[in-house]
């Protein structure tokens, strides 16, 4: 079976808009959230609360779209955990990278994330982000005076979960940005999320299918 490296549209326009607006919103939320927690003197508490609330509401809306998009397009399959190549990728980050080895993973049509990436994103989507929302939405409801039914949980506990999840997101963001530097270059990693195109290893069959049915995905069609 022969493989070809092809410039292929891997991040659709919605996905890119989603990613970058999510990035901006998460930074806004971390910035304002830190002020609400009391560790960011750059913005007043009142402004931080206003900013945090609006950013959260916009992000909730964005996520409703994203979740709908993931399931209707079948893109959710990219996040399924897999053991294939997992060890190789892990070994690369722990060892091979220092030896000047090349990244062992090639994007494929069905797998645009490497297995470590996929499992990380899956954890983020199924644990950390739900923790933020399951605490953040009750927090919002209580503080807006319509969360009386949630009072039994205690605002302190809700805030604790929310802050812990925010710390986890901060950790994710640090690691995520750092890993962008691990390939050929930082730009090489960022560019696909801007243009949408990345090098993908395609089988002849996949290439034939794409050429026939989705020629728009090919950069040089």
């Amino acid at each position: 079976m022969s493989m070809k490296m092809i410039k292929l549209m891997v991040f659709k326009r919605f996905e890119r808009v989603w990613h970058w607006s999510q990035m901006a919103l998460i930074f806004t939320l971390l910035f304002s959230g830190a002020a609400i927690y009391g560790v960011n003197p750059l913005i007043s508490f009142a402004d931080a609360v206003t900013l945090h609330t609006w950013a959260a509401i916009i992000l909730i809306a964005l996520w409703l779209f994203a979740t709908f998009w993931l399931f209707t397009t079948g893109q959710w399959r990219h996040y399924l955990p897999t053991t294939k190549n997992f060890v190789q990728v892990a070994r690369f980050y722990a060892y091979g990278i220092f030896k000047g080895e090349h990244h062992p993973y090639r994007k494929t049509y069905r797998r645009k994330h490497n297995p470590l990436q996929a499992v990380t994103y899956l954890l983020v989507k199924t644990v950390i982000f739900p923790a933020i929302w399951l605490s953040g939405i009750p927090y919002l409801l209580i503080s807006f005076g319509i969360g009386g039914f949630l009072n039994d949980f205690g605002l302190a506990n809700i805030a604790l979960v929310h802050t812990a999840a925010a710390i986890a997101i901060t950790v994710f963001v640090i690691a995520h940005v750092y890993l962008l530097t691990t390939g050929h270059s930082f730009i090489d990693h960022v560019k696909p999320m801007i243009t949408g195109y990345d090098d993908v290893e395609l089988t002849d069959e996949e290439l034939a299918y794409i050429k026939a049915d989705e020629p728009d995905l090919l950069k040089d069609s």
């Binding site: 609360v49 604790l160 640090i174």
Partner: protein
């Protein structure tokens, strides 16, 4: 040198002539005093005068609003006089207002008596002990200057004789009416209240109208023995406050009088610190509905902030936990008049050349000098622009009364304590002025004491300067068992803050409380969560470890990569 030092043998009765004489005399004495004692310490004032300038220039100088009354009392033939005393005027008032007497005789300003509906405690000025001058009981001769009646000389006052109601103290509008002690003090005090022009009874009787701030203020602004001494949020500044001191009472603001908020019917009006409304759930009520509370909500509702911003919505949800006053009265004793925060009776009784004196070492914002020491009272500490103390409060006050036993070894005794908690939906976080005092108590019985302060005898503290005699006499006079041994005890009293509401732009910033050392950090104790106080140390540590651990991890990984690359290139 003040007018109070003018010697006048008795209360002056002959009006006009007396005033001229006094003016001339005062000029003479003032110039003589200045000429004869050029090197005298200006901070020392001899004598023990307690003459407070509680009048009333305000009432005389301010242009009056047009009266909305349907009766011009100055035209009534009944009020033409002549009158020679207060009760004579009262009799005439009650001829037309023939239910007013019965109404007023139920009022605390008359009865000095209050049965608390929840605690059952017997309260009121007639029995309570505070940590200022301590007790009115037994000292009525002096204290009854602020009793809305005539001739209360002791606790045997006839509370059923409506002719002794003082209508004028609350209703006259000339600003020339005043009250003097109803009995004689010690000879050392004989100059205390001299020098006032005689009351023109006809003039004050004809001037009656709805109470103005002058009527209420001349007692309530001077509670505790001087301007703003007691409350902190009730001072003579409120006679004519700038807008930033009181947005409601300022002429540039709403120009409210006291009774604009303290509404009343049948001589009973809203507002009591014995049983307060801290969570007015009726709020503004329906249009035209009568209102029986002096709460902020009764005009502003419980959701007063505009809901077109996140901040407004958030502030509205604060009202179920935080009293309006907490944010909107960020500081008390504003506008240049200080309040007392500490009173130490232990230093009472120092004399200069056998005479009592005052030491005026505190200069307050408006330039006036306040006594930091008085021979008859001890030492004082003042504060201005003072941040209140905050606590959960459900409106119910409990008092340490004369028969309450306490354990003096357990630290300061709460003269009044209050209930309230984060878990009680009826409680609010409320601002208080705290007063700390060191005062005498009955060491054998572990109770507070009634002291005999005022009187023309050898036991009254003011003139004899002997706590032992004063306490023994005060207790005996009122039939209270006394062990015969006294000592000093520290006490605290708490005064709910409601007045001096600042304009909204001066309301407290969020970060005053939502901060590590915020004003309410002490209330973030597990029962209440206040964002921004960072009370969860565990979370702080975990967060720091996680974030800086990750940063260190990626930086280490990155550094290793750089080192590895260089080694390969070699």
């Amino acid at each position: 040198m003040y007018r109070s030092t003018i010697y006048c043998s008795d209360y002056c009765h002959n009006s006009y002539l007396t005033r001229i004489v006094i003016t001339l005399l005062s000029c003479f004495f003032l110039s003589a005093a200045y000429a004869s004692t050029p090197k005298a310490d200006p901070k020392v004032e001899m004598g023990i005068s307690e003459y407070s300038k509680t009048d009333q220039e305000h009432a005389r100088t301010q242009s009056k609003k047009e009266s909305k009354s349907t009766t011009d009392h100055s035209l009534l033939k009944e009020l033409k006089g002549p009158f020679f005393s207060g009760p004579e005027v009262t009799k005439v008032c009650l001829e037309c207002h023939n239910t007013a007497g019965h109404q007023f005789m139920k009022n605390k300003h008359w009865t000095w008596d209050y049965k608390h509906p929840k605690t059952g405690q017997h309260l009121g000025k007639s029995v309570l002990i505070n940590n200022f001058c301590t007790n009115a009981r037994g000292n009525e001769g002096m204290c009854a200057q602020c009793h809305a009646g005539y001739n209360m000389t002791d606790s045997n006052f006839d509370f059923t004789n409506q002719d002794n109601i003082d209508c004028l103290i609350c209703h006259e509008s000339t600003g020339t009416y005043y009250k003097t002690p109803t009995s004689k003090g010690n000879k050392a005090c004989s100059i205390m209240f001299a020098g006032k022009p005689a009351i023109e009874w006809e003039k004050v009787a004809q001037s009656v109208e709805m109470p103005t701030r002058n009527n209420c203020g001349k007692c309530h602004f001077y509670g505790g023995g001087g301007d703003n001494v007691k409350h902190g949020d009730l001072s003579s500044v409120l006679f004519d406050p700038p807008k930033d001191v009181d947005v409601h009472m300022s002429r540039e603001g709403e120009d409210f009088t006291c009774v604009t908020c303290h509404v009343g019917e049948a001589h009973e009006w809203a507002g009591s610190r014995y049983e307060m409304t801290v969570n007015d759930e009726v709020g503004t009520g329906k249009p035209g509905m009568p209102r029986e509370t002096a709460s902020c909500e009764s005009c502003h509702s419980a959701a007063p902030h505009p809901i077109d911003t996140v901040k407004g919505i958030k502030l509205n949800t604060h009202t179920s936990k935080v009293a309006c006053e907490t944010c909107h009265i960020p500081e008390i004793a504003r506008g240049g008049v200080a309040t007392e925060v500490d009173w130490d009776w232990r230093t009472m009784g120092k004399l200069k050349d056998g005479e009592g004196f005052k030491l005026k070492e505190y200069t307050q914002g408006d330039g006036h000098h306040r006594a930091t020491y008085k021979s008859i009272k001890g030492s004082f500490t003042y504060a201005e622009n003072l941040k209140p103390m905050y606590a959960w409060f459900d409106g119910t006050m409990n008092y340490t009364t004369i028969d309450t036993k306490f354990d003096p070894s357990k630290g300061p005794i709460d003269i009044n304590s209050f209930s309230g908690s984060a878990n009680d939906p009826a409680s609010r976080i409320y601002p208080f002025k705290t007063m700390h005092t060191t005062q005498p108590y009955d060491k054998g019985n572990n109770t507070l004491v009634y002291m005999s302060l005022w009187g023309n005898d050898d036991s009254a503290l003011w003139g004899n300067y002997d706590f032992g005699k004063s306490i023994a006499a005060g207790m005996k006079k009122n039939g209270i068992p006394y062990s015969g041994e006294w000592d000093y005890v520290e006490t605290l009293s708490y005064w709910p803050v409601n007045h001096m509401v600042a304009p909204k732009e001066d309301a407290m910033e969020c970060s005053e409380c939502h901060a590590k050392e915020g004003r309410l950090s002490h209330l973030d104790d597990g029962s209440l969560y206040i964002p921004g106080t960072q009370k969860n140390e565990m979370l702080n540590i975990i967060g720091l470890l996680a974030i800086f651990g990750t940063l260190a991890g990626v930086l280490g990984h990155g550094a290793l990569r750089i080192v590895a690359t260089r080694m390969r290139k070699k």
